[in-house]
């Protein structure tokens, strides 16, 4: 079973800071990491490979430094990693991103055949979750989003069953292979990497492709030019009058707060009231 995982390198949004004066990102404050959801994608691919054999390949579009994210995937257990990197990809929104990844996937499909494509539920820098279904539509395979469990893979009949998270529950959906899954964190826990993987990752060099390595590419659909959406204006959200601040020592602060909370008296059922 050959599995392709699309992975993205993202700034760690837990750490990134904004410059309050200029309202711009202080990029130097944020280390780049493998998108956490994609780590779960790689882990799931490695798990499926253990059962069904085959190969796990990861694919990333990004600047040269995104090599590090690919190495991280090799640590988790990926066999091979491709980085598509070219100035002409830069500034892509999700439509242009899915096009570029699709072109690379087409080439990989020709090379080795692909039974399954995995993506993260979303990338934490934009949280759009649009790229996965976009890729699936371009390849012409079904997207199964928000997957929390792979129930069954039957390579003979080329079918798989997965559990998708939906509002207040889940659904079980069956699909022909190949298909594309976007995975939630619940799908697995990313294991600590075994030492041989770490050693391999340390030496590993991803295969890098530029636009010229891909076939039949319509340059107009790439990067900024191929992106229908653009950022118009940016502004800080309106400030309200601000809070009434309660000063004094903690004790006084606490009792003042309680007083204000009790302005909403109707919210707090007096226990024991029924007795009366």
């Amino acid at each position: 079973m050959n599995i392709l995982v699309c992975i993205k390198q993202v700034p760690d949004t837990k750490i990134i800071k904004i410059n309050p004066k200029t309202n711009t990102l202080d990029r130097s404050s944020a280390p780049a990491i493998l998108n956490p959801y994609d780590a779960h994608g790689v882990q799931e691919a490695v798990r499926l490979r253990k059962i069904h054999g085959g190969k796990v390949t990861v694919l990333c579009m990004g600047p040269p430094m995104a090599r590090e994210a690919i190495k991280k995937c090799v640590e988790i257990g990926a066999d091979e990693g491709y980085l598509i990197s070219d100035r002409r990809f830069a500034g892509a929104d999700t439509l242009a991103t899915s096009y570029a990844l699709y072109k690379a996937i087409q080439k990989l499909m020709k090379q080795d055949g692909i039974d399954l494509v995995l993506c993260g539920k979303h990338a934490i820098d934009g949280d759009t979750g649009q790229t996965g279904p976009g890729i699936a539509r371009r390849i012409g395979i079904p997207p199964l989003t928000n997957v929390i469990k792979v129930e069954e893979v039957d390579l003979d009949s080329q079918q798989m069953k997965v559990r998708r998270k939906i509002e207040k529950g889940y659904e079980i959906i069956q699909s022909k292979l190949p298909c594309l899954l976007t995975v939630e964190k619940e799908i697995n826990t990313v294991a600590y990497s075994p030492l041989p993987n770490m050693l391999r990752a340390a030496r590993y060099e991803p295969i890098v492709w530029t636009v010229d390595d891909l076939e039949d590419v319509d340059i107009k659909q790439l990067g900024l030019k191929g992106s229908p959406t653009i950022v118009g204006k940016m502004w800080p959200p309106a400030k309200s009058e601000g809070a009434k601040m309660i000063d004094g020592d903690v004790k006084k602060q606490a009792s003042e707060l309680v007083k204000h909370m009790l302005e909403k008296r109707e919210l707090f059922e007096v226990k024991g009231g029924e007795q009366a």
Binding site: P11, T13, K17, I18, P20, N23, L25, T94, L95, S98, D125, G126, D127, T128, G129, Q130, G132, P133, G134, R137, I141, P142, P143, T145, N146, K161, I166, K168, G169, Y170, E171, I172, I173, P228, V231, G232, K233, M234, W235, P237, G242, A243, K244, M245, I246, V250, Q253, A254, L257, V258, H260, M261, E263, K264, L267, F268, E269, V270, K271, G272
Partner: protein
């Protein structure tokens, strides 16, 4: 692409097991304002099996027209069938704006349709408007990593599409008897040619955490540091009979599940009382809770932006004040109970 051919504001009307989902009606409220500004029709798109009767409800909530495809093949949501159905409608009727609820299936559908018809899609918007002069849709959302909003435009492609979280927009008051036009279309897909099949749908009657309907929420931010801090917040919530909320960072730390997350990519909440503990007030969090009736913020940084949206604030160490607050509140309630019981005895 001739942009002039594209007219009208569309809303995807999601239904689940034959019932309309609220977010569709909320988007009709938001879409109505856009359609009025542009002087065009507001149209719903309703897909499913035996769903035609639901159309009349959408008229009461502001729709002028509803495109309905009622076909057994659409009984359950599947990307391949819904994408085809919506794609065909878009190609035929050419709307200029198309809104979808950011639910699991709404997001899935919008993403697939954007690629199907090759247009732009803005995710998780919180503010919608149009620039009349340029006849452009302005879809705004909190931007990456901080305290800033960004307006996303889609100048050269149509329709201009956006997803919107549930509870962000408001339904109109229903106008009983308001009518509109139902336009029935069909779909030409055969089950045997499809690649996917829904085997089973399992919904639990009650969600484990129901932030959206909670009246009191006590929310934990990264300032509570660890499990011990989270416990402390839970104890306060317990005494107040409140639901526990959290910032994304707390969810990412693994202290609670995503169903506790408040904000742009969590729940949008409107409780009567919201207590934010150790939350900095990033715009992605604030958009999810700013419409709470009373907001109390506790933070040890006097410059934390959460104080801009709060009604009452204290600059204090959460680890000192929260246990105190829990005790004081318990006491206050107990005093009242005693006073009340005393009162009853006198009668």
């Amino acid at each position: 692409m001739n942009l002039e051919e594209y007219r009208g504001v569309w809303v995807f009307i999601e239904q689940r097991e034959g019932k309309l989902v609220d977010v569709g009606l909320e988007l009709l409220g938001a879409g109505r304002a856009l359609a009025d500004k542009l002087e065009v029709d507001l149209c719903g798109v309703l897909l499913g099996s035996n769903v035609k009767d639901l159309a009349k409800d959408t008229f009461e909530y502001g729709a002028d027209k509803v495109y309905v495809i009622d076909d057994p093949i659409l009984e359950q949501y599947r990307t391949e069938t819904y994408m085809k159905a919506v794609g065909d409608l878009v190609r035929k009727y050419k709307p200029e704006i198309f809104l979808y609820g950011a639910t699991a299936n709404g997001k899935d559908l919008a993403s697939a349709v954007a690629t199907e018809v090759m247009t732009g899609l803005t995710a998780d918007t919180t503010l919608l408007d149009v620039n009349l002069e340029k006849r452009l849709f302005e879809a705004s959302r909190p931007a990456f990593g901080g305290n800033i909003m960004a307006t996303i435009l889609c100048k050269k492609h149509r329709p201009q599409m956006a997803t919107v979280r549930p509870k962000v927009m408001k339904k109109l008051d229903p106008q009983p008897g308001r009518v509109g036009e139902v336009i029935e279309e069909s779909i030409s897909l055969k089950e045997e040619n499809l690649k996917t099949k829904v085997i089973e749908i399992v919904r639990s009657a009650k969600a484990a955490v129901n932030l959206e309907e909670a009246e009191i929420i006590v929310s934990a931010g990264k300032g509570i540091k660890d499990e011990k801090g989270f416990k402390m917040v839970e104890q306060l919530a317990d005494v107040l009979n409140a639901t526990v909320g959290a910032s994304r960072d707390v969810v990412e730390m693994g202290l609670c599940g995503h169903d506790h997350q408040v904000g742009q990519t969590g729940a949008t909440v409107t409780p009567k009382l919201y207590i934010a503990i150790g939350i900095s007030g990033a715009v992605q969090h604030v958009v999810g809770m700013q419409n709470s009736e009373m907001i109390i913020a506790i933070n040890n940084d006097p410059d934390a932006t959460i104080f801009n949206v709060a009604h009452f604030g204290v600059v204090a160490d959460a680890f000192e004040i929260v246990p105190l607050l829990t005790e004081e509140f318990k006491k206050a309630l107990k005093n009242e109970v005693e006073a009340e019981e005393g009162g009853v005895a006198h009668v």
